[in-house]
């Protein structure tokens, strides 16, 4: 498992400068106009998308075939991708939080006080959960269709979480609740649980897909 994570981090390391530049450009565009909260979510989601890029590298060098002749099991290979996704999301959320905090204070979009920081922190956690959900949905898609075809289908991994959250809002309204603070709180509290459940389900689906593949 460690070797798989190492391999993906070395592979993606080459793209880190471009990614850092992209995050800074997004900071300049998003923070002054949409605020640091939007930025931290965008930043985390952007980093989570890098998981697809690692599959693309693997496809190009037929890595999966080679990995299966190494002392690596199919469970390790699939599980490794979910751990790498988590690492990417964590890098995204930490950088998004720090850049968002600094940018928010500089542009006066965020007060450098406990409540402002707490709001950004909670938004970051929600962003982490959203990125994890989207990223984990993309993994079985890429295992099934390959990195290139799956790029087209990645929209699905965006639409599913959106539909999910819209469904929750709709449910709250139907049940007579308000979709203001209450809904936001429900979403915030439930997002990590949804993300964990989603990861478990997507791991199972991915393992099934990969186990049935001929390399």
């Amino acid at each position: 498992m460690k070797s798989l994570i190492q391999k993906d981090l070395y592979n993606i390391g080459h793209n880190m400068k471009a990614m850092a530049l992209l995050l800074l450009v997004f900071a300049v565009i998003l923070i002054p106009f949409s605020g640091p909260q939007t930025y931290v979510i965008a930043c985390t989601v952007l980093c989570s998308i890098m998981i697809t890029t690692t599959f693309s590298f693997d496809d190009q060098c037929k890595w999966n075939k080679y990995a299966m002749v190494m002392p690596i099991s199919k469970k390790d290979l699939v599980g490794g991708k979910f751990i790498v996704l988590l690492i990417f999301c964590l890098v995204g959320v930490v950088s998004g939080f720090l850049i968002g905090l600094a940018g928010g204070v500089i542009t006066h979009k965020l007060s450098f006080q406990a409540d402002g920081i707490l709001t950004l922190l909670l938004t970051s956690l929600a962003g982490l959960a959203i990125a994890e959900i989207m990223g984990s949905i993309s993994i079985p898609l890429v295992f099934k269709f390959g990195a290139e075809k799956a790029r087209m289908l990645l929209l699905v991994s965006v639409l599913i979480p959106m539909a999910l959250f819209y469904g929750v809002f709709w449910l709250i309204r139907t049940l007579g609740g308000t979709t203001e603070d209450q809904a936001v709180l429900i979403l915030l509290y439930s997002a990590p649980v949804v993300a964990i459940l989603c990861n478990i389900a997507m791991y199972g689906i991915s393992l099934r897909i990969f186990s049935n593949q001929e390399l």
Partner: protein, 287 residues
């Protein structure tokens, strides 16, 4: 025979191709050459042996054990080289060493460093800057640095110049100096196999045509070159394969000395593995 690898009745169907009950075994200390034309089934056989594709029938055992995807200890003992590098091109040999070190419990960093030096491979240069020969040497260095007992090579010397191929063949010969080591090497460059193989397995249209000691092929097989009249006089049960060219028949026989004695009005040449392969693939079987 103390077999490192035993393949029995390996079968796999595809819509336009069938691997048909392929069987052979590799004894300890031997190099087995797997030959056949492109599309004959060499790579499919290797994939089935390595459990990369699902076999429909047959068994494959390494040291008497079947390979499963989670058979980690067994995989430590097998070094595999495919026809290209399976690491992304921006990685360096140094990084690949670290990755492999985490994957193999038997990984030996000093041995890997020695191979990099021996093959003159820069440790910190991205592999995309390497020539095809350097890439193959890197693959071989990786395959040998976890102390495998069996090397499986799928067209590992294809596309290399003769000097580079000779360097690599020397490494393989060194490897089998240890009598517990063996090599399965698929190649359509039969001259390489003539240099180093102990046994030759010939696959044609997904079937094993023969699996024989190389010396038997080199020293016993022969090609009778003759005209149509002499060809008619040849006992057809002795013909393994034959081919008619413009002016003569080329007839492959299993016992050239016997043919020399029996058919005195013909020319009987030694048969190279290339000749045997060509006659089987492009010729026709009479008997």
């Amino acid at each position: 025979m103390d077999a490192i690898l035993q393949v029995d009745g390996l079968t796999k169907h595809y819509p336009d191709f069938m691997l048909d009950h392929v069987s052979f075994s590799i004894p300890k200390g031997a190099i087995m050459g797997l030959i056949g034309e492109n599309g004959a089934g060499k790579s499919t056989t290797i994939k089935a042996i390595l459990d990369l594709i699902r076999k429909e029938e047959g068994t494959v055992t390494f040291w008497g054990q079947e390979l499963r995807s989670d058979a980690k200890q067994l995989k430590e003992e097998i070094g595999v080289v495919f026809d290209g590098v399976n690491f992304y091109e921006t990685l360096t040999p140094e990084q690949i060493g670290k990755i492999s070190n985490s994957a193999y419990t038997q990984w030996d960093p000093p041995v890997y460093q020695d191979y990099l030096k021996r093959f003159q491979l820069p440790a910190r240069k991205e592999i995309k800057t390497f020539s095809k020969g350097m890439k193959m040497k890197l693959c071989i260095a990786i395959a040998l640095s976890h102390h495998p007992k069996l090397l499986i090579l799928d067209e590992a010397t294809s596309g290399l110049d003769p000097v580079m191929r000779d360097d690599i063949l020397e490494v393989f010969l060194d490897f089998v100096q240890d009598e517990n080591h063996s090599i399965l090497m698929s190649s359509h460059i039969t001259t390489d196999l003539e240099k180093i193989a102990d046994y030759i397995t010939f696959i044609h249209h997904g079937k094993v045509l023969f699996c024989k000691p190389k010396d038997e092929l080199r020293y016993q097989y022969g090609i009778i070159r003759c005209g149509s009249a002499a060809f008619d006089a040849i006992d057809k049960t002795e013909i393994l394969a034959c081919r008619k060219s413009d002016y003569q028949w080329d007839v492959l026989v299993a016992d050239k000395e016997k043919a020399k004695r029996k058919y005195k009005n013909t020319v009987v040449d030694d048969a190279s593995i290339d000749d045997i392969l060509l006659l089987y693939v492009k010729g026709e079987s009479v008997s």
